[in-house]
């Protein structure tokens, strides 16, 4: 299907034509420039180049053929949003800004957004990696040690379901700064699923693997780290994926407590100002950041779990 590779370019062309041919409705507030048009043109050029490149390069062709329908969908979504807002003003203008205004918000606030992105990324990464490391260690302890299971499992069961907002007062007085308090909240949100999935992964390991390894001369710690941990790895990754999602949800909450910058803080602040184009601009950035982190984790997983190819699909 040759046409599939060119679909994003065609969709961009259609989006550009809509903008050029249909006049804006006066009831929808105008952005200070045709940002959406610029984005469409840039997107169209990239789509053209990708389509051309996919005819020249076999490897890229595979990736692009797979991704082309998705990007077509994204382009069509913005075109429809454009029609419903700026062009015909069918949706309420306050809550549904036009693509031009959303992209405009990104442009006019770019310095602040970049700073917020830096703050959020730092907070998120400290919280995520801290929570993940502690979670994996707790999970291993709970999975292997009866004593750890006895004492820690009830704590997990009690603390796990409590939403992170509930901790804000306690965390605020226990931590020296708002940043460390926020990082802790995110860490807690990652710790929970990681611990649960790691320990359940270890508990589900077939006993015969441990038995075989002990008849081969493996000692206690060798069995834990060379048999237990690798076979719990798939389950551990499920916990980490859940952790990424909850860390983003918690980011919003965490940045409500005394943060000076941050994407979550920015979105909250703009929401209070009823400036929805900026809210969406922030949300788009969070979504992109989240999907980047998940893609990264997928890449790591595929590297670590090559042995699983064809065994388990999820």
């Amino acid at each position: 299907m040759v046409i599939k590779k060119w679909l994003p370019a065609l969709a961009s062309a259609a989006a550009i034509l809509i903008q050029l041919l249909i006049a804006s409705n006066g009831n929808h507030p105008q952005a200070d420039a045709d940002y959406y048009l610029y984005v469409s043109i840039a997107g169209g050029v990239i789509a053209l180049m990708c389509a051309a490149a996919s005819h020249l390069h076999k490897g890229f062709d595979k990736i692009w053929s797979f991704k082309a329908p998705f990007w077509t969908g994204v382009i069509v979504f913005f075109a429809i949003l454009d029609i419903l807002t700026e062009k015909f003003c069918i949706l309420p203008a306050i809550y549904f800004p036009s693509p031009s205004r959303i992209f405009g918000a990104m442009v006019s606030d770019h310095a602040l957004l970049a700073k917020c992105l830096g703050y959020s990324a730092r907070l998120l990464l400290t919280g995520f990696f801290g929570g993940a490391i502690v979670g994996i260690l707790t999970g291993i302890a709970v999975g292997f040690s009866k004593a750890a299971d006895y004492w820690i499992s009830p704590i997990i069961r009690i603390l796990g379901p409590i939403p992170s907002t509930a901790w804000i007062p306690l965390v605020l007085i226990s931590f020296p700064s708002a940043v460390s308090a926020s990082a802790f909240l995110i860490g807690l949100a990652v710790w929970f699923p990681t611990t649960v999935m790691t320990s359940s992964g270890i508990k589900n390991i077939s006993n015969s693997l441990f038995e075989v390894s002990s008849t081969l001369g493996a000692g206690y710690f060798y069995r834990i780290f060379k048999v237990g941990v690798p076979s719990a790895m798939p389950s551990m990754f499920i916990g980490l994926f859940n952790g990424v999602c909850s860390s983003f949800i918690t980011l919003m909450t965490a940045e409500m407590i005394g943060a000076k910058y941050g994407i979550g803080w920015y979105v909250n602040w703009q929401k209070e100002m009823m400036s929805y184009s900026n809210v969406y601009a922030g949300l788009i950035i969070i979504a992109v950041l989240c999907s980047l982190l998940i893609t990264l984790l997928f890449k790591v997983r595929d590297k670590v779990l090559v042995w699983q190819k064809g065994v388990i699909k999820w």
Binding site: S206, S208, L209, E211, V212, S213, S214, T215, L216, G217, A218, G219, Y222, K226, V227, P230, S231, M233, L305, V306, W307, Q308, K309, G310, V311
Partner: protein, 259 residues
């Protein structure tokens, strides 16, 4: 020669889910000579695996003791290798790393690296060193787990129905391979099987067990020369003798009429 196993008055009991006690082994006595091939044969559920696990040291007897060359067995050890009915390879390790597992666990891998490929070719898997377990057929995986157990030079190799899941052709090939390996690396082999022909083809001694609680019903010395012929008169005679013992030990087989 090393690798003599002595089972002395071993009793094994299990607590069942309903709280009652099940006697799996009832005062079992057995001597396995160093370097011999011994098969356990008996109705399923009679306690063959239980006895093998006791020799492996994975479980401890309720009473009695088992010795290897006079020393009491107290927990698993690499001098008693074990091959399960299903291959139980480590799925996250390549075939090479599976075979090398014991060497690495014992921290002697650096000195014995070359043995890994040696044992891989012994079981005919030299071309699959970098494959993962799920990419192998059942027979290949079982051969890999055999190589993994053999590489530690165990004095005793315990085999729990290792060929049970294989098709007839692979099975016969593996039987010849087991005999070849045993003559190359002298070791005691104890194998659980429910296939009378297999036991007769391989063993120096066949231990026929009664149903639960397992007692030793009969011990048959097999003195035929190798390679054995499966249609040799002595083979057939011993075969019907064992079958008779098994029927006597178990229930009479139901008569089946096919018209």
């Amino acid at each position: 020669m090393v690798g003599e196993i002595n089972v002395k008055d071993v009793v094994q009991t299990f607590i069942q889910p309903d709280g009652s006690t099940l006697t799996a082994l009832d005062h079992v006595n057995l001597n396995v000579k160093a370097g011999s091939f011994v098969s356990f044969i008996g109705p399923s559920g009679c306690g063959k695996t239980t006895l093998l696990r006791l020799i492996a040291g994975l479980t401890k007897p309720a009473s009695g003791e088992i010795t290897l060359d006079g020393e009491k067995i107290d927990g698993p050890h690499y001098e008693r290798g074990l091959v399960f009915q299903n291959p139980t390879l480590f799925p996250w390790l390549s075939i090479y790393d599976n075979v090398a597992f014991g060497l690495k666990a014992r921290k002697i891998y650096k000195d014995k690296k070359q043995e890994v490929s040696e044992y891989l070719s012994l079981v005919g898997l030299e071309n699959f060193a970098s494959s993962y377990p799920h990419q192998l057929s059942g027979g290949m995986a079982q051969r890999a787990s055999l190589a993994r157990a053999l590489i530690g030079h165990p004095k005793v190799l315990l085999l729990d129905e290792p060929l049970g899941a294989l098709d007839a052709f692979t099975r016969m090939n593996m039987q010849d391979e087991l005999l070849r390996i045993r003559s190359e690396k002298s070791m005691t082999m104890i194998m659980v099987t429910h296939d009378v022909d297999e036991a007769l083809y391989l063993s120096d001694k066949i231990v026929v067990m009664s149903p639960r609680p397992a007692k030793i019903e009969d011990i048959i010395d097999v003195k035929m020369f190798r390679p054995r012929q499966r249609n040799n008169p002595e083979f057939l005679r011993l075969r019907s003798q064992i079958l008779k013992t098994l029927h006597y030990a178990g229930n009479e087989p139901e008569q089946e009429y096919v018209i």
